[in-house]
Symmetry: C2
Subunit: 162 residues, 2 copies
């Protein structure tokens, strides 16, 4: 199977990867979550080549994750801002950060910590069950495939590849 077609498979992980799975994409989004909005900030802070950055930004805008607009402060400048769809990627980001903090840190410890503004707690969010509130891990959850939809007469149409 070609990588191009994984975005069309019936799996949300695969589809997500087809959008944010490219090499530098999550690092650009890291910058966005840290409040950066401009081309040159992205370039300097990530170290990505300018042409690649341009390509990625275009893709992120096309996919609805970033919005490109002139800055209010200085209309001559351009800003990239997270859309709702982009902001919703925060759990992915923070989960990656936590895993790196837990397993890949050097002796200096985590490079970044987070604080919950509304309660003041200095602690990283966790995955919890919305019903009982317990923290959950892989072993606590059971995956249940969607039951087969009524088979159509012919092959179902598929989204075009990105």
């Amino acid at each position: 199977m070609r990588w191009r077609s994984v975005g069309n498979t019936d799996c949300s992980v695969a589809r997500t990867l087809s959008v944010i799975g490219e090499r530098w994409t999550m690092l650009i989004l890291r910058e966005c979550f840290l409040g950066r909005r401009r081309f040159d900030e992205f370039q300097r802070n990530t170290g990505i080549a300018r042409n690649i950055l341009a390509t990625r930004l275009r893709a992120l805008v096309d996919d609805g994750i970033l919005q490109r607009a002139p800055a209010e402060a200085d209309r001559a400048r351009v800003e990239y801002r997270l859309t709702k769809m982009g902001i919703d990627l925060y759990p992915v980001m923070i989960a990656m950060m936590q895993w790196g903090d837990a397993w890949l840190c050097d002796e200096n410890g985590p490079p970044l910590s987070v604080m919950h503004r509304t309660c003041g707690a200095h602690a990283t969010p966790r995955m919890t069950c919305p019903s009982c509130g317990a923290q959950v891990g892989a072993r606590d959850m059971l995956a249940i495939p969607r039951h087969r939809e009524p088979a159509p007469r012919r092959a179902a149409s598929r989204r075009a590849s990105r």
Copy 2:
């Protein structure tokens, strides 16, 4: 900057990506979380080329995410099983799944749902503040960089690149 060196930057997201950021890696791990353990299962269910799969599996074992061992049932067979380090990637996986469910589904809805074994709830986990229990999003959290460690006399040693 070369991609190879992002694993050495002082950012847990970047380091995590240097380990699980390669194209097919998370899809292999998806299979692991679904209980698959064998080379051919991985190959069939992901559609990855066999040689690439072999390379990825070797990297995952080297990185401590999977463990390779003969199957207990049939010692002639080989099994790949998640280590603790691998199991800890569940939040990353589930966060990706949820985002795909929310933003990339077709009319059939999410391909997979999950159930919390211990309380029976059919609901996907969320990111919550461990202190106050509220669900958190990007806007609720403030990022705080680690204060600079006492500068060493010479450049600090860095992990070797993968």
